[in-house]
């Protein structure tokens, strides 16, 4: 299969968290991933998209989230979750386990930690009042061949 690229844009409502992870799962289907790989990708995407819904747009239900997914023949999956919300002040602090600005809403502060643990690479870029872009890279084990 040749390199593939897909972009998905949707409104930042909580209902679309599930849609986003189903789309991510659908994107990797041609690589015949393991249940473990699918679960890791779905979980990481769910974390990133939830963050945009909750933090970037303050759970207002307004705003747009963009999902860009790329795959190479070798099974490297790159998923970018982008929002145009409030942005992150201190990225390093935000990435630390247990750090959250929404403890009252029962957030655990484990989102970035899980994204990091479930992918091969996590890049977080953000600008105050401009938005946030989270890049998740996952190397699928396609040794069994396509």
């Amino acid at each position: 299969m040749k390199d593939n690229v897909v972009t998905v844009e949707f409104i930042a409502i909580a209902e679309n968290e599930r849609f986003a992870r189903m789309v991510a799962a659908a994107f990797v289907v041609p690589f015949d991933p393991t249940v473990e790989e699918i679960t890791e990708i779905k979980t990481a995407v769910s974390e990133a998209v939830s963050n945009s819904v909750i933090h970037a747009y303050n759970s207002s239900g307004e705003g747009t989230i963009k999902l860009e997914m790329r795959s190479t023949e070798k099974g490297t999956i790159t998923i970018i979750v982008e929002d145009y919300g409030i942005g992150i002040d201190d990225i390093e602090a935000a990435r630390a386990p247990m750090f959250t600005t929404s403890a009252l809403e029962e957030r655990s502060g484990m989102g970035f930690t899980i994204m990091e643990s479930f992918t091969d690479k996590l890049i977080v870029e953000s600008e105050k009042e401009k938005g946030t872009r989270v890049t998740l890279v996952k190397m699928l084990d396609i040794s069994c061949g396509l």
Binding site: S46, S50, I54, S108
Partner: protein, 120 residues
């Protein structure tokens, strides 16, 4: 996500079915808090055996319920966590404060034993 409750003495069991994310956690936590109040239950079992997906919103939901149960001097247990849920919950150190069993029956048995110990 669907939720069903079972009562036995002062233990309420919440049986969750479906996907547990930020969206579904919003209503699930209200349902559980409401049920605990209505049934005046002290102790809580969360049964995850029919949960097909969970992310960090599950951690927040569990910790939130744990705080409420502790306020009433109750006990809480989890059961039926998949290997993926366990990975997530372990990262947050949940199992260092809340015990977990495979089967719901076993969780029930352990909670009842503790209750009897407390009465002595």
């Amino acid at each position: 996500m669907q939720i069903e409750f079972e009562m036995s003495d002062d233990i309420i069991t919440a049986i969750l079915t479906g996907e547990l994310d930020h969206h579904s956690a919003l209503s699930i936590r209200e349902d559980i808090d409401h049920a605990m109040q209505v049934y005046r239950a002290k102790n809580l079992i969360l049964d995850f055996s029919s949960v097909s997906f969970a992310d960090s919103s599950g951690i927040g939901m569990i910790m939130g319920r744990y705080k409420k149960v502790k306020e009433k001097d109750g006990c809480m247990m989890l059961c039926g966590c998949s290997v993926y849920m366990k990975r997530i919950f372990e990262m947050a150190g949940i199992f260092t404060i809340i015990e977990e069993t495979e089967e719901r029956g076993e969780a029930m048995r352990q909670l009842k034993e503790r209750g009897e110990e407390n009465e002595r």
